[in-house]
């Protein structure tokens, strides 16, 4: 029962629930903007249950909060039977009030809603309630921008005190008598939290700081409605609080634990949680949090879980989460740090960063094989005994583990387009190695009339035992994909001056009087053919090139003089015209 004389509280959640974005501001920018908000008026941090209990004064709220120590409520049981995370998110708004939030339930078939326990506290009053999101359709997490469903505020006896209907993130007019008069009564305000860099909080965003945890801003929008419903004498329902949600806060801050992070921690299995809580994994954990904040979808969550599982089960594997999310495989670049004293590292990472921006690279194997299964690739820079530019080694006892080694002299002496081609080329070897080892998979190749992978390999390529069999496969099936990947990266890796110098080239494959102008399609094709010159199909269709005792290339046999001419000329021009 609610008394009409009581103020009606309505939490307009679409606003209250917030826009959290954090600006990872590199230290050389936006100094002027920063000054005005340096003072941390609103702060957020993660605090323990004991910490919360120690500050509560209202005995009813204290008793209720203490029940989480034993935590027997069914709704609080997480997947795998684990106890929920009992860290509260504490948000302090200056000396006005403090909000404590605890995620009690994430969406499941059995309990199809999200539930938070909320306490607000100011100098004189403590209020408590439950915040419940009931989505119209199953969701893995709450994205307030697209949320459709009901948001309810409950008192301690789980009675609905207010209910708001949200459609595609927009609050709808109220229809029930127990709620706020109209959503138009509510107002919103914005607060900014500055998360400082370094353990002594000496650096704000925009300032130089060597600490791996960079400074950032967290923006909260809080909406308060002046008309509130009745409340129990001893435990009033809060009429205003803040929630660092939407994609989740945190990002770089160890203390900024968002709802999304809390949700994610809640769905981890015990083994995943053990990995997550190991401080040695903090850098990768932060990468995952950052990734989740950018990709807070079901797909993003599943990918993050896979990242944890791969690192957890493959000792020594340190995945680059961002690079992996944009690559056809899980990528470990930990052996190639951004080291200014090592130009080969700089060059490799610059190329890989461009490569992962190519949409075609990410789906390298999907078009041909329609295969989304991922494997792990660890990149190394090191000398290769055979004198090759790149080499792929697959662990036969665990075929999902591949090591791709790129020669440092190759990196130093070649342009970035050629390096990108070689990395993609080696990734294809890794994929084929994995498939070769996984005979039970029964994979088919849809574009080849659904021929079984093993049949086509065995019938046409004599297995992958010979050194050039994979190259034959690449020659026949992967060149179109390689060309698209290179085309994706051209604007990043080729300077305008280099483009111009290439576009002013002419070829004379038939005679000096017959000009054939440069074209990019031939450029991508002939660049992609590099490294395949020893395979049977190349030799049968174009010709045979060997390297003589002096290290010089010699054409032993030419089958197609025009193709041979273009292969050599394009690659000469690429080598000599592209210097970066």
């Amino acid at each position: 029962m609610f008394s009409s004389c009581f103020l009606l509280v309505f939490f307009l959640f679409s606003s209250c629930f917030l826009l959290v974005f954090f600006l990872f501001i590199q230290c050389d920018s936006t100094e002027n903007t920063i000054e005005s908000i340096k003072k941390p008026y609103v702060t957020s941090e993660k605090v323990s249950l004991a910490n919360v209990l120690s500050v509560l004064k209202n005995p009813v709220i204290l008793n209720q909060t203490e029940t989480f120590k034993t935590n027997t409520q069914e709704s609080m049981t997480q997947k795998g039977g684990e106890k929920p995370n009992l860290y509260f998110t504490k948000i302090v708004k200056g000396n006005e009030y403090t909000t404590y939030l605890l995620l009690l339930n994430s969406y499941s078939t059995k309990n199809p809603y999200f539930m938070y326990y909320v306490i607000t506290q100011n100098a004189t009053t403590e209020k408590v309630g439950y915040l419940k999101y009931i989505p119209d359709t199953p969701i893995a997490f709450i994205d307030i921008k697209s949320f459709s469903g009901k948001i309810q505020i409950l008192d301690l006896k789980h009675r609905i005190r207010t209910e708001s209907r949200i459609l595609n993130g927009q609050p709808q007019k109220q229809t029930t008598a127990v709620t706020a008069r109209t959503t138009d009564d509510c107002t919103s305000s914005t607060s900014i939290i500055t998360h400082y860099c370094g353990s002594n909080a000496a650096h704000s965003p925009g300032q130089n700081c060597t600490d791996p945890t960079r400074a950032y801003y967290e923006v909260l929008i809080t909406t308060t409605c002046p008309y509130v419903s009745g409340y129990d004498n001893s435990a009033p329902v809060p009429n205003e609080f803040m929630n660092p949600s939407e994609g989740g806060a945190g990002g770089g801050g160890p203390n900024a634990i968002s709802d999304l992070t809390i949700f994610f921690e809640g769905i981890l299995s015990p083994k995943q949680k053990m990995w997550w809580d190991n401080y040695n994994n903090d850098p990768q954990k932060q990468e995952i949090i950052t990734y989740l904040n950018q990709k807070s979808t079901n797909e993003g969550i599943l990918f993050s879980l896979d990242m944890i599982d791969q690192m957890r089960t493959n000792f020594g594997l340190i995945l680059d989460v961002d690079a992996s999310s944009k690559s056809p495989a899980n990528i470990d670049r930990s052996s190639i740090p951004h080291d200014l004293t090592k130009p080969e590292n700089q060059k490799f990472n610059a190329v890989y960063d461009a490569l992962k921006d190519s949409p075609e690279f990410k789906k390298l194997f999907i078009d041909l094989f329609q295969d989304n299964n991922r494997f792990n690739v660890k990149f190394l820079i090191g000398n290769i005994a055979s004198g090759a530019s790149g080499d792929t080694d697959t662990d036969l006892s665990n075929p999902t583990l591949n090591t791709i080694t790129i020669s440092p002299s190759f990196l130093l002496n070649n342009n970035k387009m050629t390096i990108a081609k070689t990395i993609a080329h080696e990734c294809i070897h890794a994929f084929l190695n994995v498939k070769l080892c996984d005979a039970g998979q029964g994979m088919s190749i849809p574009t080849l009339n659904n021929m079984d992978f093993y049949n086509i390999v065995n019938q046409q390529y004599n297995g992958f035992n010979g050194s050039q069999d994979q190259h034959n496969f690449i020659y026949n099936f992967m060149l179109p994909t390689l060309k698209i990947i290179l085309a994706d990266m051209k604007d990043t890796l080729v300077t305008p001056a280099e483009s111009q110098s290439l576009e002013e080239l002419f070829f004379h494959p038939i005679s000096p009087t017959q000009d054939v102008p440069f074209n990019w399609n031939d450029f991508y094709l002939n660049l992609s053919l590099g490294g395949l010159q020893s395979c049977t199909f190349f030799q049968n269709e174009i010709g045979t090139i060997i390297i003589d005792a002096n290290g010089l290339p010699v054409i032993l046999n030419t089958i197609d003089p025009v193709k041979m001419y273009f292969f050599n000329k394009y690659n000469q021009y690429i080598h000599d015209n592209l210097r970066h």
Binding site: E426, E504, V554, H575, D576
Partner: protein, 159 residues
């Protein structure tokens, strides 16, 4: 006296003009150390000059090809020398004695083809400036130098 001077000048001009037809044994060590080298080109056996089509008459695309002799080895053994006026490849004029003064830094077709193509390409590509002196651009009193880029051998990588 006047007759003597005129005679001597005439002899000098005849000597300088005939310089271009001779093959000098350049010192490779000097060439390696130099920032700028000059390639002497004369259309003929193993040496081809192609004037490419350009978007407008002010723009010049000249391609010079030195064939490194062995036909069986085909196109791999070509050195391509490019002059592209749009890429700030400058042209400049010098007086004829320039040839004498820089004779040690002028490489000829005979000199280049006596060496390994990739070695020569690398040598020329490491210079700050490479100019081409075309026999057709040598006048009685002046010569024309064209800045060029050298494209050499492609050695396919093992992958």
């Amino acid at each position: 006296m006047i007759t003597y001077v005129i005679k001597n000048r005439l002899l000098l001009i005849i000597f300088l003009h005939s310089f271009c037809f001779q093959s000098y044994s350049q010192n490779i060590e000097k060439i390696k150390k130099a920032d700028t080298v000059y390639i002497y080109f004369k259309k003929g056996k193993g040496q081809v000059h192609i004037k490419e089509k350009t978007p407008s008459p002010e723009i010049k695309y000249d391609t010079y090809i030195f064939s490194f002799d062995n036909i069986k080895k085909g196109y791999l053994n070509e050195m391509t020398i490019l002059h592209r006026s749009r890429l700030n490849h400058i042209e400049r004029k010098e007086k004829k004695p320039f040839l004498i003064k820089n004779k040690d830094l002028i490489v000829t077709y005979d000199f280049l083809t006596k060496h390994n193509l990739s070695e020569m390409t690398e040598l020329l590509n490491n210079k700050k400036k490479v100019y081409l002196i075309n026999y057709d651009d040598i006048g009685w009193f002046t010569i024309k130098l064209k800045e060029v880029k050298v494209i050499g051998v492609f050695k396919p990588s093992i992958e």
